[in-house]
Protein backbone atom coordinates (compact mmCIF):
# COMPACT_ATOMS: atom_id res chain seq x y z
CA UNK A 1 0.00 0.00 0.00
CA UNK A 2 1.37 3.38 -0.82
CA UNK A 3 0.66 6.40 1.30
CA UNK A 4 -2.52 7.97 0.05
CA UNK A 5 -2.90 11.73 0.53
CA UNK A 6 -6.60 11.26 1.11
CA UNK A 7 -5.85 9.19 4.23
CA UNK A 8 -3.79 11.84 5.98
CA UNK A 9 -6.64 13.20 8.17
CA UNK A 10 -7.48 9.63 9.24
CA UNK A 11 -3.87 8.95 10.20
CA UNK A 12 -3.67 12.24 12.01
CA UNK A 13 -6.70 11.48 14.17
CA UNK A 14 -5.58 7.90 14.85
CA UNK A 15 -2.08 9.04 15.78
CA UNK A 16 -3.47 11.61 18.21
CA UNK A 17 -5.81 9.07 19.82
CA UNK A 18 -3.01 6.49 20.01
CA UNK A 19 -0.75 9.02 21.71
CA UNK A 20 -3.47 9.98 24.18
CA UNK A 21 -3.97 6.29 24.89
CA UNK A 22 -0.37 5.66 25.83
CA UNK A 23 0.69 9.05 27.14
CA UNK A 24 -0.22 8.39 30.80
CA UNK A 25 2.07 5.33 30.71
CA UNK A 26 4.83 7.20 28.88
CA UNK A 27 4.74 9.90 31.54
CA UNK A 28 4.82 7.30 34.30
CA UNK A 29 7.74 5.56 32.57
CA UNK A 30 9.57 8.86 32.20
CA UNK A 31 9.11 9.65 35.89
CA UNK A 32 10.33 6.21 36.89
CA UNK A 33 13.61 6.79 35.03
CA UNK A 34 14.44 10.15 36.58
CA UNK A 35 17.19 10.28 39.18
CA UNK A 36 17.26 12.22 42.41
CA UNK A 37 19.13 15.00 40.64
CA UNK A 38 16.14 15.86 38.50
CA UNK A 39 13.02 17.70 39.67
CA UNK A 40 10.07 15.56 38.62
CA UNK A 41 7.80 18.60 38.99
CA UNK A 42 9.94 20.76 36.71
CA UNK A 43 8.20 23.19 34.36
CA UNK A 44 8.43 22.67 31.47
CA UNK A 45 8.22 18.89 32.01
CA UNK A 46 10.82 16.69 30.34
CA UNK A 47 9.76 13.43 28.76
CA UNK A 48 13.33 12.19 28.20
CA UNK A 49 15.00 12.10 31.63
CA UNK A 50 18.02 14.37 32.06
CA UNK A 51 19.31 12.41 35.00
CA UNK A 52 18.60 8.93 33.61
CA UNK A 53 18.74 6.09 36.10
CA UNK A 54 17.52 2.54 36.80
CA UNK A 55 17.91 3.15 40.52
CA UNK A 56 14.19 3.54 41.18
CA UNK A 57 13.56 0.11 39.72
CA UNK A 58 16.32 -1.44 41.80
CA UNK A 59 15.03 0.41 44.87
CA UNK A 60 11.41 -0.61 44.56
CA UNK A 61 12.39 -4.19 43.65
CA UNK A 62 14.41 -4.40 46.86
CA UNK A 63 11.84 -2.85 49.17
CA UNK A 64 8.70 -4.47 47.77
CA UNK A 65 8.25 -8.14 47.01
CA UNK A 66 6.79 -7.56 43.55
CA UNK A 67 7.78 -11.09 42.55
CA UNK A 68 5.61 -12.43 45.36
CA UNK A 69 2.64 -10.33 44.15
CA UNK A 70 3.24 -11.62 40.64
CA UNK A 71 3.26 -15.25 41.80
CA UNK A 72 0.11 -14.67 43.84
CA UNK A 73 -1.61 -13.15 40.83
CA UNK A 74 -0.52 -16.11 38.71
CA UNK A 75 -1.91 -18.59 41.24
CA UNK A 76 -5.23 -16.76 41.50
CA UNK A 77 -5.64 -16.14 37.77
CA UNK A 78 -4.47 -19.67 36.92
CA UNK A 79 -6.86 -21.26 39.40
CA UNK A 80 -9.74 -19.09 38.25
CA UNK A 81 -9.11 -19.97 34.60
CA UNK A 82 -8.84 -23.69 35.30
CA UNK A 83 -12.05 -23.82 37.32
CA UNK A 84 -13.93 -21.73 34.76
CA UNK A 85 -12.92 -24.05 31.94
CA UNK A 86 -13.97 -27.14 33.85
CA UNK A 87 -17.15 -25.89 35.48
CA UNK A 88 -18.43 -23.94 32.47
CA UNK A 89 -17.97 -26.73 29.97
CA UNK A 90 -19.43 -29.33 32.34
CA UNK A 91 -22.53 -27.22 32.91
CA UNK A 92 -22.83 -26.19 29.28
CA UNK A 93 -22.95 -29.74 27.95
CA UNK A 94 -26.39 -30.76 29.27
CA UNK A 95 -27.75 -27.30 28.51
CA UNK A 96 -26.70 -27.69 24.89
CA UNK A 97 -27.32 -31.36 24.31
CA UNK A 98 -29.69 -32.98 26.77
CA UNK A 99 -33.35 -32.88 27.69
CA UNK A 100 -34.10 -32.98 31.36
CA UNK A 101 -36.59 -31.86 33.92
CA UNK A 102 -35.91 -28.35 35.16
CA UNK A 103 -33.86 -27.33 32.13
CA UNK A 104 -35.78 -24.13 31.64
CA UNK A 105 -35.48 -23.02 35.25
CA UNK A 106 -31.78 -23.90 35.33
CA UNK A 107 -31.36 -21.80 32.24
CA UNK A 108 -33.08 -18.78 33.71
CA UNK A 109 -31.26 -19.15 37.02
CA UNK A 110 -27.96 -18.93 35.18
CA UNK A 111 -29.20 -16.04 33.09
CA UNK A 112 -30.24 -14.24 36.28
CA UNK A 113 -26.65 -14.23 37.50
CA UNK A 114 -25.72 -11.98 34.59
CA UNK A 115 -28.09 -9.33 35.88
CA UNK A 116 -26.73 -9.16 39.39
CA UNK A 117 -23.44 -7.35 39.77
CA UNK A 118 -20.91 -8.88 42.14
CA UNK A 119 -20.67 -5.49 43.84
CA UNK A 120 -24.26 -5.80 45.05
CA UNK A 121 -23.72 -9.13 46.79
CA UNK A 122 -20.09 -8.76 47.86
CA UNK A 123 -20.91 -8.27 51.54
CA UNK A 124 -22.72 -11.61 52.04
CA UNK A 125 -20.10 -13.27 49.79
CA UNK A 126 -17.51 -12.00 52.24
CA UNK A 127 -19.50 -13.20 55.25
CA UNK A 128 -19.82 -16.67 53.70
CA UNK A 129 -16.14 -16.76 52.75
CA UNK A 130 -15.28 -15.91 56.36
CA UNK A 131 -17.61 -18.60 57.67
CA UNK A 132 -15.99 -21.18 55.38
CA UNK A 133 -12.56 -20.05 56.68
CA UNK A 134 -11.48 -19.23 53.12
CA UNK A 135 -9.38 -16.25 54.18
CA UNK A 136 -5.65 -15.83 54.54
CA UNK A 137 -5.80 -15.76 58.34
CA UNK A 138 -6.49 -19.50 58.09
CA UNK A 139 -3.44 -20.07 55.90
CA UNK A 140 -2.30 -19.16 52.45
CA UNK A 141 -4.02 -22.04 50.69
CA UNK A 142 -7.35 -21.11 52.24
CA UNK A 143 -6.68 -17.51 51.25
CA UNK A 144 -6.11 -18.45 47.62
CA UNK A 145 -9.25 -20.59 47.53
CA UNK A 146 -11.21 -17.65 48.91
CA UNK A 147 -9.81 -15.36 46.24
CA UNK A 148 -10.75 -17.78 43.49
CA UNK A 149 -14.09 -19.34 44.41
CA UNK A 150 -16.48 -16.40 43.92
CA UNK A 151 -15.24 -16.18 40.30
CA UNK A 152 -14.87 -19.92 39.64
CA UNK A 153 -17.75 -20.01 37.19
CA UNK A 154 -19.66 -17.40 35.25
CA UNK A 155 -22.84 -17.33 33.22
CA UNK A 156 -20.79 -15.80 30.43
CA UNK A 157 -18.55 -18.86 30.34
CA UNK A 158 -21.46 -21.30 30.46
CA UNK A 159 -23.26 -19.60 27.59
CA UNK A 160 -20.06 -19.32 25.57
CA UNK A 161 -19.34 -23.04 25.93
CA UNK A 162 -22.96 -23.89 25.23
CA UNK A 163 -22.79 -22.03 21.94
CA UNK A 164 -19.67 -23.98 21.03
CA UNK A 165 -21.31 -27.34 21.82
CA UNK A 166 -24.39 -26.39 19.81
CA UNK A 167 -22.23 -25.92 16.74
CA UNK A 168 -20.96 -29.51 16.80
CA UNK A 169 -22.87 -31.91 14.52
CA UNK A 170 -24.86 -34.51 16.45
CA UNK A 171 -23.47 -37.29 14.26
CA UNK A 172 -20.18 -36.96 16.15
CA UNK A 173 -21.84 -38.07 19.36
CA UNK A 174 -23.88 -40.75 17.68
CA UNK A 175 -20.80 -42.29 16.14
CA UNK A 176 -19.08 -42.30 19.51
CA UNK A 177 -22.05 -43.93 21.23
CA UNK A 178 -22.17 -46.64 18.58
CA UNK A 179 -18.48 -47.20 19.18
CA UNK A 180 -19.35 -47.83 22.80
CA UNK A 181 -18.58 -44.55 24.55
CA UNK A 182 -20.55 -43.64 27.64
CA UNK A 183 -21.80 -40.10 28.25
CA UNK A 184 -18.67 -38.98 30.09
CA UNK A 185 -16.43 -40.31 27.37
CA UNK A 186 -18.54 -38.50 24.79
CA UNK A 187 -17.98 -35.31 26.72
CA UNK A 188 -14.32 -35.80 27.45
CA UNK A 189 -13.07 -37.52 24.29
CA UNK A 190 -15.37 -36.23 21.59
CA UNK A 191 -16.91 -32.90 22.48
CA UNK A 192 -14.22 -31.20 24.54
CA UNK A 193 -11.42 -31.60 21.97
CA UNK A 194 -13.69 -30.01 19.38
CA UNK A 195 -14.27 -26.83 21.37
CA UNK A 196 -10.61 -26.12 22.09
CA UNK A 197 -10.68 -22.75 20.30
CA UNK A 198 -13.60 -21.61 22.45
CA UNK A 199 -11.85 -22.89 25.56
CA UNK A 200 -8.85 -20.77 24.57
CA UNK A 201 -11.04 -17.68 24.24
CA UNK A 202 -12.66 -18.35 27.60
CA UNK A 203 -9.25 -18.93 29.20
CA UNK A 204 -7.78 -15.71 27.86
CA UNK A 205 -10.64 -13.46 28.83
CA UNK A 206 -11.06 -15.07 32.24
CA UNK A 207 -7.34 -14.61 32.81
CA UNK A 208 -7.47 -10.91 31.96
CA UNK A 209 -10.50 -10.39 34.18
CA UNK A 210 -8.98 -12.22 37.09
CA UNK A 211 -5.59 -10.59 36.69
CA UNK A 212 -7.08 -7.10 36.96
CA UNK A 213 -9.55 -7.86 39.76
CA UNK A 214 -9.12 -5.36 42.55
CA UNK A 215 -12.28 -5.06 44.64
CA UNK A 216 -12.52 -8.62 45.97
CA UNK A 217 -8.84 -9.09 46.91
CA UNK A 218 -8.81 -5.72 48.61
CA UNK A 219 -11.77 -6.87 50.72
CA UNK A 220 -10.49 -10.32 51.74
CA UNK A 221 -6.73 -9.96 51.94
CA UNK A 222 -5.14 -9.22 55.28
CA UNK A 223 -1.55 -10.36 54.79
CA UNK A 224 0.86 -8.49 52.58
CA UNK A 225 2.47 -11.77 51.51
CA UNK A 226 -0.83 -12.70 49.89
CA UNK A 227 -1.29 -9.48 47.90
CA UNK A 228 -2.06 -9.80 44.21
CA UNK A 229 -0.45 -7.30 41.84
CA UNK A 230 -3.29 -4.73 41.76
CA UNK A 231 -3.56 -4.68 45.55
CA UNK A 232 0.21 -4.57 45.95
CA UNK A 233 0.58 -1.76 43.44
CA UNK A 234 -2.13 0.28 45.09
CA UNK A 235 -0.29 -0.27 48.35
CA UNK A 236 2.84 1.37 46.88
CA UNK A 237 1.05 4.68 47.28
CA UNK A 238 0.91 4.23 51.02
CA UNK A 239 4.44 2.86 51.34
CA UNK A 240 6.19 5.58 49.39
CA UNK A 241 3.71 8.36 50.11
CA UNK A 242 5.18 11.04 47.88
CA UNK A 243 8.08 9.21 46.29
CA UNK A 244 6.55 9.21 42.82
CA UNK A 245 9.73 7.80 41.27
CA UNK A 246 9.27 4.55 43.22
CA UNK A 247 5.50 4.45 42.76
CA UNK A 248 5.99 4.93 39.02
CA UNK A 249 8.73 2.28 38.79
CA UNK A 250 6.64 -0.26 40.73
CA UNK A 251 3.59 0.43 38.57
CA UNK A 252 5.58 -0.01 35.38
CA UNK A 253 7.11 -3.30 36.55
CA UNK A 254 3.69 -4.62 37.49
CA UNK A 255 2.36 -3.85 34.02
CA UNK A 256 5.05 -5.68 32.06
CA UNK A 257 3.60 -9.22 32.40
CA UNK A 258 0.14 -8.28 31.17
CA UNK A 259 1.52 -6.29 28.25
CA UNK A 260 3.61 -9.28 27.17
CA UNK A 261 0.53 -11.48 27.48
CA UNK A 262 -1.51 -9.01 25.45
CA UNK A 263 1.04 -8.73 22.66
CA UNK A 264 1.41 -12.51 22.50
CA UNK A 265 -2.34 -13.03 22.35
CA UNK A 266 -3.22 -9.86 20.47
CA UNK A 267 -5.15 -11.59 17.71
CA UNK A 268 -7.72 -12.70 20.30
CA UNK A 269 -8.24 -9.13 21.43
CA UNK A 270 -8.08 -7.03 18.32
CA UNK A 271 -9.25 -9.31 15.53
CA UNK A 272 -12.81 -8.24 16.26
CA UNK A 273 -14.00 -11.83 16.39
CA UNK A 274 -14.41 -12.08 20.12
CA UNK A 275 -16.10 -8.77 20.54
CA UNK A 276 -17.62 -8.01 23.88
CA UNK A 277 -16.25 -11.13 25.42
CA UNK A 278 -15.23 -9.50 28.64
CA UNK A 279 -15.46 -6.23 30.45
CA UNK A 280 -12.33 -5.50 32.44
Amino acid sequence: MKLNLKNIPTHLILIIVSLLSIFPFIWLLSTSLKGAGENIFAYPPTIIPNDFTWANYAGVWQKVDLMRYFINSMIVAGGTVLLNLILSSLAAYPLARMDFKGKKITFFAILATIMVPFQAIMLPVYLITLKLHLVDTFGNVMGFIGLIMPFAVSAFGIFLMRQAFLAIPKEMEEAAIIDGCNVFQVFWKVLLPMVKPTLAVLAIFTFIGSWGEFLWPSIVLTKEAMYTLPVGVNNLQGMFSSNWRYIAAGSIISTIPIIIFFLAMQRYFISGENEGAVKG
Binding site: L14, P24, L28, D99, M115, V116, I128, I270
Partner: protein, 290 residues
Amino acid sequence: MFKYYGKLAPYLFLIPAGIVLLIFFFIPFFQTIGLSFFDYSNSIYHPNFSGINNYIEIFHNPVFYKVMWNTVLYLVIAVPILATIPLFLAILINQKIRGITLYKILIYLPVIVSIVVAAIAFKWLYAQEGILNYLMQVFHLPAIGWLTDPKYAIYSVIILTIWKGIGYYMMIYLAALMSVPKELYEACDIDGANFWTKHLTVTVPHIMPTIALVTTISSISAMKIFAEIYVMTKGGPLNSTKTIVYYIYEKAFENLDLGYASAMAVILLVIVMIFSLLNIFVFEKGKYDI
Protein backbone atom coordinates in the same frame (compact mmCIF):
# COMPACT_ATOMS: atom_id res chain seq x y z
CA MET B 1 -31.44 -38.17 18.33
CA PHE B 2 -31.68 -41.20 20.57
CA LYS B 3 -31.26 -40.68 24.26
CA TYR B 4 -27.90 -42.15 25.15
CA TYR B 5 -27.54 -40.69 28.60
CA GLY B 6 -29.09 -41.75 31.88
CA LYS B 7 -31.67 -39.77 33.79
CA LEU B 8 -29.11 -38.50 36.26
CA ALA B 9 -26.40 -37.52 33.80
CA PRO B 10 -27.55 -33.92 33.11
CA TYR B 11 -27.66 -33.17 36.83
CA LEU B 12 -24.24 -34.68 37.45
CA PHE B 13 -22.78 -32.34 34.86
CA LEU B 14 -24.56 -29.34 36.35
CA ILE B 15 -23.78 -30.01 40.00
CA PRO B 16 -20.23 -28.59 40.28
CA ALA B 17 -21.16 -25.23 38.76
CA GLY B 18 -24.45 -25.36 40.64
CA ILE B 19 -22.76 -25.69 44.03
CA VAL B 20 -20.42 -22.78 43.36
CA LEU B 21 -23.26 -20.57 42.13
CA LEU B 22 -25.41 -21.57 45.10
CA ILE B 23 -22.77 -20.69 47.69
CA PHE B 24 -21.27 -17.66 46.03
CA PHE B 25 -24.24 -16.26 44.19
CA PHE B 26 -27.74 -17.36 45.16
CA ILE B 27 -27.32 -17.49 48.92
CA PRO B 28 -25.54 -14.08 49.01
CA PHE B 29 -28.18 -12.67 46.70
CA PHE B 30 -31.03 -13.47 49.10
CA GLN B 31 -28.87 -12.64 52.09
CA THR B 32 -28.31 -9.14 50.72
CA ILE B 33 -32.04 -8.59 50.61
CA GLY B 34 -32.46 -10.12 54.07
CA LEU B 35 -29.68 -8.10 55.70
CA SER B 36 -31.14 -4.88 54.36
CA PHE B 37 -34.01 -5.24 56.88
CA PHE B 38 -31.72 -5.39 59.89
CA ASP B 39 -30.15 -2.69 61.97
CA TYR B 40 -26.45 -3.25 62.69
CA SER B 41 -25.64 0.26 63.81
CA ASN B 42 -25.64 -0.56 67.54
CA SER B 43 -23.83 -3.86 67.44
CA ILE B 44 -22.46 -5.95 64.64
CA TYR B 45 -23.14 -9.12 66.67
CA HIS B 46 -26.71 -8.40 67.74
CA PRO B 47 -28.61 -6.87 64.85
CA ASN B 48 -32.26 -5.89 65.33
CA PHE B 49 -34.97 -6.36 62.77
CA SER B 50 -35.83 -2.88 61.61
CA GLY B 51 -38.13 -3.31 58.64
CA ILE B 52 -37.57 -0.75 55.97
CA ASN B 53 -35.77 1.65 58.31
CA ASN B 54 -32.48 1.35 56.43
CA TYR B 55 -34.18 2.42 53.23
CA ILE B 56 -35.88 5.35 54.97
CA GLU B 57 -32.54 6.36 56.43
CA ILE B 58 -30.89 6.19 53.00
CA PHE B 59 -33.52 8.38 51.42
CA HIS B 60 -33.02 10.95 54.19
CA ASN B 61 -29.26 10.98 53.84
CA PRO B 62 -27.82 13.81 51.71
CA VAL B 63 -24.79 11.62 50.91
CA PHE B 64 -27.11 9.24 49.07
CA TYR B 65 -28.27 12.04 46.79
CA LYS B 66 -24.68 13.08 46.19
CA VAL B 67 -23.82 9.50 45.27
CA MET B 68 -26.79 9.25 42.92
CA TRP B 69 -25.93 12.58 41.37
CA ASN B 70 -22.40 11.35 40.67
CA THR B 71 -23.87 8.28 39.00
CA VAL B 72 -26.13 10.48 36.89
CA LEU B 73 -23.10 12.55 35.88
CA TYR B 74 -21.39 9.34 34.80
CA LEU B 75 -24.44 8.34 32.78
CA VAL B 76 -24.88 11.66 31.02
CA ILE B 77 -21.18 12.33 30.36
CA ALA B 78 -19.31 9.04 30.04
CA VAL B 79 -22.02 6.96 28.37
CA PRO B 80 -22.75 9.23 25.37
CA ILE B 81 -19.04 9.73 24.79
CA LEU B 82 -18.35 6.00 24.99
CA ALA B 83 -21.21 5.28 22.60
CA THR B 84 -20.02 7.71 19.93
CA ILE B 85 -16.25 8.32 19.89
CA PRO B 86 -15.37 4.60 19.72
CA LEU B 87 -17.78 4.25 16.80
CA PHE B 88 -16.09 7.11 15.00
CA LEU B 89 -12.68 5.55 15.65
CA ALA B 90 -13.89 2.12 14.56
CA ILE B 91 -15.07 3.60 11.26
CA LEU B 92 -11.66 5.22 10.75
CA ILE B 93 -9.83 2.01 11.63
CA ASN B 94 -12.09 -0.12 9.43
CA GLN B 95 -10.26 1.02 6.30
CA LYS B 96 -7.46 -0.44 4.29
CA ILE B 97 -4.71 1.89 5.42
CA ARG B 98 -1.25 1.45 6.83
CA GLY B 99 -0.54 0.76 10.48
CA ILE B 100 -4.02 -0.43 11.46
CA THR B 101 -2.75 -3.18 13.75
CA LEU B 102 -0.46 -0.78 15.55
CA TYR B 103 -3.28 1.72 16.07
CA LYS B 104 -5.51 -1.03 17.39
CA ILE B 105 -2.87 -2.25 19.83
CA LEU B 106 -2.12 1.22 21.15
CA ILE B 107 -5.77 2.22 21.52
CA TYR B 108 -6.61 -1.10 23.17
CA LEU B 109 -3.72 -0.91 25.62
CA PRO B 110 -5.62 1.04 28.32
CA VAL B 111 -8.25 -1.72 28.37
CA ILE B 112 -5.67 -4.39 29.17
CA VAL B 113 -3.70 -2.53 31.81
CA SER B 114 -4.93 -2.88 35.39
CA ILE B 115 -7.28 -0.13 36.49
CA VAL B 116 -5.06 0.39 39.53
CA VAL B 117 -2.03 1.25 37.40
CA ALA B 118 -4.21 3.44 35.16
CA ALA B 119 -5.55 5.29 38.19
CA ILE B 120 -2.04 5.82 39.53
CA ALA B 121 -0.89 7.11 36.13
CA PHE B 122 -3.80 9.57 36.05
CA LYS B 123 -3.25 10.64 39.62
CA TRP B 124 0.25 11.56 38.55
CA LEU B 125 -1.04 13.54 35.55
CA TYR B 126 -3.50 15.30 37.85
CA ALA B 127 -0.92 16.23 40.51
CA GLN B 128 -1.06 19.83 41.71
CA GLU B 129 2.31 20.59 40.12
CA GLY B 130 1.76 17.95 37.48
CA ILE B 131 1.87 17.96 33.74
CA LEU B 132 -1.79 18.88 33.19
CA ASN B 133 -1.47 22.00 35.28
CA TYR B 134 1.61 22.83 33.26
CA LEU B 135 -0.56 22.68 30.13
CA MET B 136 -3.08 24.96 31.84
CA GLN B 137 -0.28 27.41 32.46
CA VAL B 138 0.82 27.23 28.83
CA PHE B 139 -2.69 28.24 27.82
CA HIS B 140 -2.70 31.00 30.47
CA LEU B 141 -5.32 29.24 32.55
CA PRO B 142 -5.23 28.94 36.35
CA ALA B 143 -3.99 25.68 37.86
CA ILE B 144 -6.77 23.30 38.85
CA GLY B 145 -7.03 20.92 41.81
CA TRP B 146 -7.99 18.09 39.48
CA LEU B 147 -8.61 15.63 42.27
CA THR B 148 -8.65 17.97 45.24
CA ASP B 149 -11.28 20.50 44.20
CA PRO B 150 -14.83 19.19 44.83
CA LYS B 151 -15.98 21.11 41.76
CA TYR B 152 -13.74 19.20 39.35
CA ALA B 153 -12.78 15.90 40.98
CA ILE B 154 -15.68 13.85 39.62
CA TYR B 155 -14.96 15.01 36.07
CA SER B 156 -11.32 14.04 36.43
CA VAL B 157 -12.39 10.54 37.47
CA ILE B 158 -14.88 10.33 34.61
CA ILE B 159 -12.10 11.22 32.16
CA LEU B 160 -10.12 8.21 33.38
CA THR B 161 -13.13 5.92 32.92
CA ILE B 162 -13.66 7.19 29.38
CA TRP B 163 -9.98 6.86 28.54
CA LYS B 164 -9.96 3.27 29.78
CA GLY B 165 -13.14 2.31 27.91
CA ILE B 166 -12.59 3.71 24.44
CA GLY B 167 -10.56 0.82 23.04
CA TYR B 168 -12.95 -1.77 24.41
CA TYR B 169 -16.03 -0.26 22.80
CA MET B 170 -14.10 0.45 19.61
CA MET B 171 -13.45 -3.28 19.22
CA ILE B 172 -17.13 -4.06 19.74
CA TYR B 173 -18.04 -1.54 17.02
CA LEU B 174 -15.33 -2.85 14.74
CA ALA B 175 -16.85 -6.33 14.88
CA ALA B 176 -20.27 -4.87 14.09
CA LEU B 177 -18.94 -2.87 11.16
CA MET B 178 -17.77 -6.04 9.48
CA SER B 179 -21.42 -7.04 9.03
CA VAL B 180 -22.36 -3.91 7.07
CA PRO B 181 -22.66 -4.91 3.39
CA LYS B 182 -19.89 -3.32 1.32
CA GLU B 183 -22.23 -2.74 -1.63
CA LEU B 184 -24.07 -0.10 0.37
CA TYR B 185 -20.87 1.92 0.71
CA GLU B 186 -20.10 1.46 -2.96
CA ALA B 187 -23.54 2.81 -3.79
CA CYS B 188 -22.84 5.82 -1.60
CA ASP B 189 -19.51 6.42 -3.32
CA ILE B 190 -21.21 6.34 -6.72
CA ASP B 191 -23.75 8.87 -5.44
CA GLY B 192 -20.85 11.03 -4.31
CA ALA B 193 -21.89 11.05 -0.65
CA ASN B 194 -19.31 12.51 1.74
CA PHE B 195 -17.93 10.78 4.87
CA TRP B 196 -20.64 11.98 7.24
CA THR B 197 -23.63 11.36 4.98
CA LYS B 198 -22.30 7.94 4.10
CA HIS B 199 -21.96 6.84 7.69
CA LEU B 200 -25.05 8.54 9.04
CA THR B 201 -27.25 7.00 6.37
CA VAL B 202 -25.65 3.57 6.05
CA THR B 203 -23.45 2.69 9.03
CA VAL B 204 -25.45 4.11 11.92
CA PRO B 205 -28.83 2.60 11.00
CA HIS B 206 -27.17 -0.71 10.26
CA ILE B 207 -25.42 -1.06 13.61
CA MET B 208 -28.12 0.52 15.77
CA PRO B 209 -28.39 -2.69 17.86
CA THR B 210 -24.68 -2.44 18.67
CA ILE B 211 -25.01 1.22 19.62
CA ALA B 212 -27.82 0.26 21.97
CA LEU B 213 -25.71 -2.57 23.36
CA VAL B 214 -22.73 -0.31 23.99
CA THR B 215 -25.01 2.22 25.67
CA THR B 216 -26.37 -0.35 28.11
CA ILE B 217 -23.08 -2.03 28.92
CA SER B 218 -21.33 1.27 29.46
CA SER B 219 -24.22 2.38 31.67
CA ILE B 220 -23.99 -0.78 33.74
CA SER B 221 -20.24 -0.44 34.15
CA ALA B 222 -20.68 3.22 35.08
CA MET B 223 -22.77 2.04 38.01
CA LYS B 224 -20.09 -0.38 39.15
CA ILE B 225 -17.22 2.13 39.34
CA PHE B 226 -15.03 1.42 42.33
CA ALA B 227 -11.28 1.02 41.75
CA GLU B 228 -10.81 4.47 40.20
CA ILE B 229 -12.31 6.05 43.29
CA TYR B 230 -10.52 3.81 45.77
CA VAL B 231 -7.12 4.48 44.25
CA MET B 232 -7.47 8.18 43.44
CA THR B 233 -9.82 9.95 45.83
CA LYS B 234 -11.41 7.59 48.38
CA GLY B 235 -14.69 9.28 47.52
CA GLY B 236 -13.48 12.73 48.51
CA PRO B 237 -13.12 15.63 48.63
CA LEU B 238 -16.43 16.17 50.47
CA ASN B 239 -18.05 13.07 48.94
CA SER B 240 -17.71 14.73 45.55
CA THR B 241 -16.48 11.53 43.86
CA LYS B 242 -18.36 8.95 45.90
CA THR B 243 -20.01 6.31 43.69
CA ILE B 244 -22.65 3.73 44.61
CA VAL B 245 -20.21 0.85 44.94
CA TYR B 246 -17.67 2.90 46.86
CA TYR B 247 -20.46 3.97 49.22
CA ILE B 248 -21.51 0.33 49.76
CA TYR B 249 -17.89 -0.65 50.35
CA GLU B 250 -17.39 2.14 52.88
CA LYS B 251 -20.61 1.40 54.78
CA ALA B 252 -20.00 -2.36 54.80
CA PHE B 253 -16.28 -2.68 55.40
CA GLU B 254 -15.30 0.55 57.12
CA ASN B 255 -18.39 1.54 59.12
CA LEU B 256 -19.53 -2.10 59.51
CA ASP B 257 -23.10 -0.90 59.05
CA LEU B 258 -24.12 -4.10 57.29
CA GLY B 259 -27.84 -3.33 57.14
CA TYR B 260 -27.42 0.09 55.61
CA ALA B 261 -24.83 -1.20 53.13
CA SER B 262 -27.14 -4.04 52.11
CA ALA B 263 -30.08 -1.70 51.56
CA MET B 264 -27.81 0.39 49.35
CA ALA B 265 -26.76 -2.80 47.55
CA VAL B 266 -30.40 -3.65 46.90
CA ILE B 267 -30.86 -0.22 45.32
CA LEU B 268 -27.85 -0.89 43.08
CA LEU B 269 -29.28 -4.30 42.26
CA VAL B 270 -32.61 -2.87 41.15
CA ILE B 271 -31.03 -0.22 38.94
CA VAL B 272 -28.58 -2.62 37.29
CA MET B 273 -31.31 -5.22 36.78
CA ILE B 274 -33.45 -2.75 34.85
CA PHE B 275 -30.56 -2.06 32.47
CA SER B 276 -29.67 -5.76 32.19
CA LEU B 277 -33.23 -6.81 31.42
CA LEU B 278 -33.32 -4.23 28.67
CA ASN B 279 -30.06 -5.62 27.40
CA ILE B 280 -31.01 -9.29 27.50
CA PHE B 281 -34.54 -9.04 26.18
CA VAL B 282 -34.24 -6.18 23.74
CA PHE B 283 -30.69 -5.70 22.51
CA GLU B 284 -29.06 -9.10 22.77
CA LYS B 285 -32.21 -10.99 21.93
CA GLY B 286 -31.40 -14.44 20.66
CA LYS B 287 -28.00 -14.73 22.30
CA TYR B 288 -29.50 -16.44 25.34
CA ASP B 289 -32.30 -18.38 23.69
CA ILE B 290 -32.88 -21.87 24.94
